[in-house]
Amino acid sequence: MEKQSASRTLNRLATARDGGVLVAKHYEEVNRAAKQGECVGWLFAESPRELFKVAGIHSIASGNWGARAGALRANAVLLEAAESEGFPRFMCPYMKGLIGHAILIARDETDKIPPEIRLPKPSFMGGWNRCSQGQQCMEAVNYYLKPKVSTFVIDTPHVYDDEDLEKVVGYVVLQMEDLIGFIERLTGRPYPWAKLCEWTRTIRDIAIMREEIWQLAQAKPTPMTMGDWAVALGAVTGARDDLSSIQFFKKLKAEVEDRVKNGVGSVPDEEIRIMWHELLVWHSFGSLTKAAASLGCVMIPGSYILWDNRPELIDPERPLWSMVQSYLYVMTGRSMEYNLRERVKRRAMPYNVDGVIFSTSPSCKNFSKCAYALKEQFESDTGIPGVVVSADHCDSRFHNEDELEQTLSTFIDIIKARKDKHLKEL
């Protein structure tokens, strides 16, 4: 194993940190709204929250909240509360955290919850069931809340054959049209469709900008690493209902353009590029990217961290269709062939990656399934080496940081050895 170089430190984007500030502001806003008696929803799994925000309803999304709780290493008390009631050890910490939160609300012990992740009691709950734990989690939360709150589930079938996508999208859109009635009953007002179309236009503009940033960051040395993207992801999912995030992305793009123009990279003397595919290890991605940087390796984002940005699937005139196509069915609910083509190769090849890490979590089957088969096929198709790693994406209590960094380091060594051998053969 190559000795780490102390001189190779990570050069993070200054703007990326603003993404975290944006997300913090979102949760402050949610808590403020609840204190003022406004409606606040808890949404589970991938949920296009702008559908509610446009109508003036605040909400939190389990994925964004849970990831942040894990990244801040603030969720242990919630996970322990859920486990004390018998919920399993290997269960999505995003979901288990919300159950734990409901349990502490029921016990009148919310003072035990770190303020930065504390949520108001929901007025309603709902979700699109791309994740099968979502509706179960919602049932569990409602069990502890007294009185129970209104709930909804939008059925989102898996698409095994791309030819079925249109049919599936149609079914989901019909259910969302019915959901509009639920929103109108909550607000007592007609749904503001024109505003939703306008909102969708801005979301598309943000998506276009993000894609441009992703293309700019292909430069060598890359100006932006997985860690920068991870913080920016918060602004995508958490602030999806806050259009001021467009300012954040404009600023981010300007900083990236400047770096590219001046040849400034995130990793000095960048030698290796490794793409991280699927779930981020939220509590440790910072140290991982630093460890990689010290070995001359830059970690670049896969489609999960990009929330597989697809601006071409966003049509402001068809906002519901856009939400389903560009938010729900770009990440899960698709075949392995689709994932390999659209989510691995499409993101890896333009960056000329030297390797791909296929991340799995023992508490998330949704984003971990078929990782080994995917790696095998990717290696076979491209000749680029891959490795499967397992680390809980959000529960740091049992995480072995050294083991993960050792795996990363060994993988980097293997890549470097192969590159050296290839050069010698030339």
């Binding site: 099968s132 589930v153 259910q175 397992s390």
Partner: protein, 380 residues
């Protein structure tokens, strides 16, 4: 004829189900489609002239390929076992597989089995709505059943007419009637059939053509009446094991303990038989209706008014049982997440209960200790 004869038929099939099905297939020259994931409508497969079977899973050791594709955690033992069967070629005799994505694990299997067991050429993934009620979900369900019907017709080369489907539904309903009669008998005469024997009858019913299973059941019901019951044993309800049958080794432990199983809430058990399908009107609509109004609450479905905890409490009390044991397949996420609330419902109703995490090659000694302790507690 003694009661041992139909029980022996069931036992021989249950001990080697795949061998039995292959022999049957060769002798009868009929196609066989295996199903995994709950709620695949076997009546529809039967109406195509194809024999449907629920895929039983053995408790054999798991290979490194399975460990790589489906590590534990997070994957459950059933799915890993099924993948192992597929990789070892044990499913190659099947003419097809129909798999319902009842949970995320099933979704992974749907991707992996065709990849690892390429000799199975006909493969039908199914999605039945998770929210059970509503006009949108009914329409999707009907479309899904219609699509499934068409692909079955292509596989069999036979048309599934309304009359054929109604006839299959009638046959399966009669099987339900007989099985429910057996359940009634077991409830009223504790210990009249052992846990292993019931397991064999149930598993036999999952692979044997219903017409033949009905004959076994008719004989069994007649002859079982003459058996003595065991009123001195602890009376237990078995719950859980959501997708397929629990391993026979667990039933052996139950039989060795001082326990009589009064009723069960297993999928290869009462859940499969409790909801009848209407024999009037459009038969596809009837299948859709029976799915949407399923009696046994399922943690993989969204039906907030049908609470699993309340259901098993009612089952326990109406069977006159002393306690409940929940068989939780290790890493079965739907069951593990639902269990705390079920447990609390049982506690609130003062029903003694325990749970067993079941997996292949589990320690039967530990299971025996847990069950003996429960039996002792309730028999005091």
């Amino acid at each position: 004829m003694t009661v041992q004869e139909p029980l022996k038929v069931a036992r021989e099939i249950a001990l080697n189900p795949y061998d039995w099905v292959q022999d049957w297939k060769n002798q009868n020259r009929r196609k066989v489609v295996g199903t995994f994931g709950m709620y695949v409508p076997h009546e529809l497969i039967h109406a195509a002239g194809i024999q449907p079977i629920i895929l039983p899973v053995s408790d054999q050791p798991i290979s490194s390929q399975v460990d790589a594709d489906m590590p534990s955690p997070p994957y459950c033992a059933f799915a890993r076992g099924l993948l192992a069967h597929a990789i070892q070629g044990e499913l190659n005799f099947l003419d097809g597989l129909a798999m319902h994505e009842c949970c995320t694990t099933a979704c992974a299997l749907i991707e992996l089995i065709p990849r690892r067991a390429c000799q199975i050429s006909w493969f039908q993934p199914l999605w039945f709505p998770v929210p059970l009620h509503g006009r949108r979900t009914r329409q999707w369900l009907l479309n899904e059943l219609e699509g499934f019907k068409r692909t079955l017709e292509q596989l069999s080369g036979e048309k599934i007419t309304e009359a054929r489907l109604r006839s299959s539904i009638g046959l399966y309903n009669y099987n339900r009637t007989l099985m429910n009669a057996l359940y009634d008998l077991r409830r009223s005469r504790p210990g009249i059939i052992s846990a292993c024997e019931m397991h064999d009858v149930l598993l036999c019913g999952m692979v044997m053509p219903k017409k033949e299973h009905n004959l076994v059941l008719e004989r069994l019901l007649c002859l079982l009446e003459k058996r003595a019951s065991h009123s001195d044993r602890a009376r237990l309800i078995m719950s859980g094991s959501l997708c397929t049958q629990p391993w026979r080794s667990i039933m052996e432990v139950i039989d060795d303990s001082n326990i009589a199983v009064m009723d069960d809430d297993l999928y290869v058990g009462s859940r499969y038989y409790v909801t009848r399908v209407s024999e009037t009107g459009d038969p596809l609509e009837a299948l859709a209706e029976s799915y949407q109004r399923m009696i046994a609450p399922c943690p993989t479905r969204w039906d907030p008014d049908n609470d699993w905890g309340d259901y098993v409490v009612r089952m326990t009390l109406s069977a006159g049982a002393d306690a409940l044991v929940s068989l939780i397949v290790r890493n079965c996420e739907p069951h593990e997440i639902a269990w705390p609330r079920v447990q609390q419902a049982l506690a609130a109703a003062e029903v003694p209960q325990t749970s067993l995490q079941i997996e292949p090659q589990m320690s039967t000694a530990q299971a025996r200790t847990i069950l003996d302790a429960l039996a002792e507690r309730v028999c005091v």
